[in-house]
Each structure stands twice: as C-alpha cells, then as structure tokens.
Symmetry: C2
Subunit: 392 residues, 2 copies
Amino acid sequence: MDYLFSDKISALQPSAIREILKAASEPGVVSLAAGNPAAESFPRAAIAAITAEILAQNPVAALQYGISEGYEPLRLEVAGLLARRYGVGRDFDRVLITSGAQQGIDLVTKVLCNEGDVVLCENPSFIGALNTFRSYNVRLRGVDLESDGLDLAQLEAALRTEKKARFLYLIANFHNPTGLCTSLAKRREIYALARRYGVLILEDNPYGDLRFAGEDLPSLKSLDTDGLVIYVGSFSKIIAPGLRVGYVCLPEPVAQKVTVAKQAADVHTSALAQMICELFLRRTDLDEHFRGLRDIYRRKCGLMLDAMSALFPPAVTWTRPEGGLFVWSTLAPGADMLGFCRSAAAARVAVVPGNAFLVRPDDACRSLRLNFSTPTDEQIIRGLEILAELLA
Amino acid sequence: MDYLFSDKISALQPSAIREILKAASEPGVVSLAAGNPAAESFPRAAIAAITAEILAQNPVAALQYGISEGYEPLRLEVAGLLARRYGVGRDFDRVLITSGAQQGIDLVTKVLCNEGDVVLCENPSFIGALNTFRSYNVRLRGVDLESDGLDLAQLEAALRTEKKARFLYLIANFHNPTGLCTSLAKRREIYALARRYGVLILEDNPYGDLRFAGEDLPSLKSLDTDGLVIYVGSFSKIIAPGLRVGYVCLPEPVAQKVTVAKQAADVHTSALAQMICELFLRRTDLDEHFRGLRDIYRRKCGLMLDAMSALFPPAVTWTRPEGGLFVWSTLAPGADMLGFCRSAAAARVAVVPGNAFLVRPDDACRSLRLNFSTPTDEQIIRGLEILAELLA
C-alpha cells in the first residue's frame, strides 16, 4: 500500500530537537538539550491533595464531557488572574482553555491562515511553534532578533511587503531559544507597527512568571487597546506540563472561531486536569509559589553562567537571561557549530544546534541552546566541563 | 478591527447539537439530546484510588512532559488488548495515544487530506467527525445507510467517480446517530471495495464494547491484511470521557505522520490521564466491567424502546439498537420533523433533529436522534410522554 500524505504534512519532519532528545534520553548522556521545567518545581503534594479532593467531592464534573470553551471556574480564575496581575484582557476579550499553549498556537493558526499565507516571527524562534505553522503550509518570514527584541527596520519591511501576513508570532519574555527579553520601548513600537499594518500579534508567554532578575515588563497584550493581540499562556512552567493545560486570551470574534476549531480538534481539554489547575490557583499563594520557582531557576542559571565564565574560552559568547529556562551560546567566528554539537553528542553531552530554531535551518548559524532547568547541578557542571574541553 | 478567517474555518458553524445542548442544559429541560455516557457508569472509586497511587508513587511521570506517541505502558496495554480481545493490529501497525478519539479523527484528516480532497462517509454520520472533516475544507460525499450498513452500489459508484477520495469514514458498531450495525457480510464487501479502489478506511469504534444484545462482529480493522484501515478507539465510553484519552491503531507510515502532527497539535495527551487509563486497564477485570456497563445500557435502552412502543403512534418508526447510546426515530411520511423538534423544545424536551447528521443538512429528513444513556429513568419516561403528546 502506497500512502499519500497532505502537502501540509508531507514536508514536515520530526523536529531536530526531538531526535536529539531521543539520543539524550540514553543512559549516561548529560542532556543540556531539554526544555522541561525542573521536576523539583512541581507542587506534588498540593496536586495530590487537590486531585483527591476533586475525585471525592466532584467526580462527575471531572469525568464527564465538558464544554469546548473550557471549565467555567478555571476560565474565570484565569481571566481574573490575567487582569489583576498583568493588566491583560479587556471587555472585547475572552479566555479559552486549551490543551497546553501548543494547542492555542495550533488552533489560532488553523483559524487565521490559509495555505500560502505568511506568519512573521522572530528568527530564531521556538521550534514547536514553527513546526505548527509549517503543518498548515504557511510561509514563515523571519525577522532577526537583536538583544532587545526584533530588528524594527526588518519588521517594518516585512509588514510592508508581505501582503498575506496574517500575524506576528513572538515570545517577548525569556525567548526560546535565546533567553532574551523584548524591551518595553520595542514592545510599544512593535504594537504600533502591527496596528499600522493591520496585522495581528500572537504573543506566547510561557515563561513570564519565571523572572529571577530585573523588573517585569508589560506584555504586548496589556497594551492592546485595539483587539490586535492574541495572548497564549500555559500552566506547564508554573504547575506541571504533564497536565497539558494552557489558555488563550483573545478578542471575542477570534475566540468564537477558535472554539469551533477546538471542538473539532479534541472536544475539550481533560476536565480533571482543568479542575486541578483551577483549585491550585484558588488555593495557592502565587507570590510565594513563584518565589520558590524563581529561586530554583536563579540558582541553576547562575550555576550554568558561572561555570561557562570559568570554563569557556573568551571567543565564545552567551546571553545572560533574567528568567526562563535557556542560555544561547555563540561560538567563535569561523567555528563549525554543527560539528561541535556532533562532537558533544559523541562525548555524551546533548545540546541543541541553533539552526534548529531558524526559519531556514540550512542558514549559517554559530549558536546553540543550553538548558539549565532539567539537568541536576552535577550534570550542568559535568556537561559544561566536557563542552569546554571540546572548545579548547 | 476586522478579523479575516481561513477558508476552512469560515464556513464552519458551531454544531446544531451544541446549540441544542446549550438550550438542553437549562434547568427543567428533559434532554434526550446528549451523547454522554451514563454518569453512573464511571468507575469513580477505582479512578480515585488509582490516581492517588500514581501521584504518590510516580508523580514526576504524571507531571513532566512525555513523548508525542503516548505513554509507553499505555500503548503496550492498548496494543495487547486490541490484539487479544479483537484481533486488531498486525506487524505493520502501531498504536498511538490521542486526546480522545476526536483527535485521532482530526490528525488523520490533517495528515491525509488537502483542501478539496474528498472524504466518503455514511449519511447520516457523527456530526463531530463531519465537522472535523469540514474544518479541513474537504468535500464530503455521503453514502446512504441501510439497516445493515452502507448501500454498496452507492459506495462503489462513489469510489469509482471520486478520484480525490482519501478515505471512507464509518462507525460499524452502534452507529451514531442511528444505533445500527454493519453486517459482517457488508464489512467484508466494504473492505474488498476499498482495497480494489485503493482508498483507506477510517473505522471509528467508540461504542464497540457496549453491545448489550446479539453477537460481537469482527471490526474492519481485524480484516485488514493490507494496511488499509485506520482504527480509532476511545476510553470515553468505557472509563470516562472527561479524561480525554483515545487511541489509533494504524499502519506505521501513517503513524509516523500522525505523530508529527500530534506533536504540533498538543505535544502529547495529559500524562496523568494516560496513566489513569493504563492502570485502570491493568487492574480491572474488563469482562466484569463491561458486563456492568452493558447492564446499565441494556436497561435504559429497553426502557426507552418499551415506552416508545407503548406511547408513540404506529406511523412513527425507530431502530432497535443492540448496543451504544442512541435510538433513531423516523416520523410519519409528510411530517415536519424540524417543526416537531422545535415544538418539543418549547415543551422542554430536547432531541436532535436528524438533519444535523447529514452531509447536506438542508436535505429532507424525517428522523431524529434520541439518547438513552444520559437521562435518568424518570426523564426518559417523562420526555417520551411529552413527545408522544406532541405526536398524537
């Protein structure tokens, strides 16, 4: 039997990260390649207690079909949280629950894009989102990322010339893979440009609560007086990713279409998982909870940065993130980054070659992504020691 | 702000059932319109005990990211169950876990169909699947359903003329909305026809374990020597739908593409929900569990059929299902079915007008779907009494 696949899926390959992570899961390999939150950050006891309570007191709601928009008490809790803490959400906005932020990105793309339409994005960007866009056969137009956010001249050129641009995808806080933040000035200019050209913004903010240095910046969504911004959030980094619960906050007309698409995609998100998130949010002192998470990541990031300073040759550079999970390191001019990643794998240290995050993965790239949230302290040190030996 | 939506989503409206269910959820309305399993069928105590055990003994696996193919022990458990109990799955097949059977249908459509391709289906058919197909802008070609399955002459004509037909979607056991089964002879003929024309079959079997009368029939997948059949199953009707766990059993090359699409759609299905299903399957005497479910549905279906026989005028007919959740009732020639459903709603009884399940919902239809799994015994009797008064 010959199987014929759709154009949109035929070209899509399993992500390079995925293959590296498979290799990285072999015993004895030190993985700096993952993007998992630290397992010690999971509020295990609270989740166990909450889950027992739900299944004892409200089992039918947790086990029966629910509505596609999401569990109403969770929607209200999220809407309240977004408004109070982050100034996100206006009268024209709605909150919908999704099966992780990934599904929010997926459904928004399905609802907004025909095949051949264009999505603008930071270059590099989160490979999971790029592959979702590719899976709808849209064309990606990358805009280079500077240390304080998008190159605005490039962005304006793209907005001016790409008549089929449907939205701009970005991660303004602790960007994946670079760990960089978009400055407040640039957030304002990006919003103004998008408004001028009538292009929506898809703001992905999985790491916003994981700031362990510096000051919080307003999200683009909080600046959104015009209904331009679709905001995607997640409980994966602040509760637990295995639950697969995320949300979108977006203008009502788009929310209606996303609801229809969600119904066709998976009917609704796991009711039990939604109820766990709802009760966790309601029962937890989030300031204290976030302080605990930030302490974990501040320490691990510091450990990684200190070891890099001590071990890596001066020609190698890297970002100094104020939050999130990743450091982006760039090898010396002329270096063979892919060859280095392969040598690292042979020496049993997994890192993600930076070109995996590019709009065109064949473009030249001397950078690689290092993760400090998943490995143990010992693995961070040992992994960096091996990398330093290869660099020397 | 004017929002532009994709062609595939623009035309798709919230399903008629969904709107009816919203009305049906008003207090005081007797709903025979749902498709929910009976809440008394949920193994609440077992799920509570199992969940507590998982969160105590293996919390990180339940809370951390997992792989897109699904939780390995659940994949093995499902593959073993399918092989042992149903003769489903050959060397060339793989089992993947999905977020409900709905996601299996969604991902298979995304992987196989370009916009403008054709999906063949029973007419009427499950509206949730039809809307998923529509959400990819495929064209639906309906084949009339007879009391023992598809009209084979129509099916062959469709296979012969529809050059862009990508697969045939069907529910051979206790079909939604009619409650009918495809005979073994027709299963064999449908398989042979699909093979002759090189068209895949998407076999959706959510209700197969809910047979409360008659003899089990082999699934089309169990006849699949050629890698033609994609089989979609679900735990929604045998454990609990709120968990949102289903699975597909399908040839390896298609499984690879579905895995890539799954990764882009929601990364993976809730790990906690997958682990609950796995441990439930491993710990439970399924023969006994299914006996309990069948007892519930046999009794409720019998109650509905007996009341219809006692109350409905002779010109009204209905199917006599041997399993599943639905009875399909057809009004007398010349009757105004939509008007009847509206009158029923005004009298505070919700039923689903049959045209909602048609490939072309504007086609003439005198039938409606009645559900016996969700209402209480009293609601079944009271609802049918009100319908009988309107019919008289």
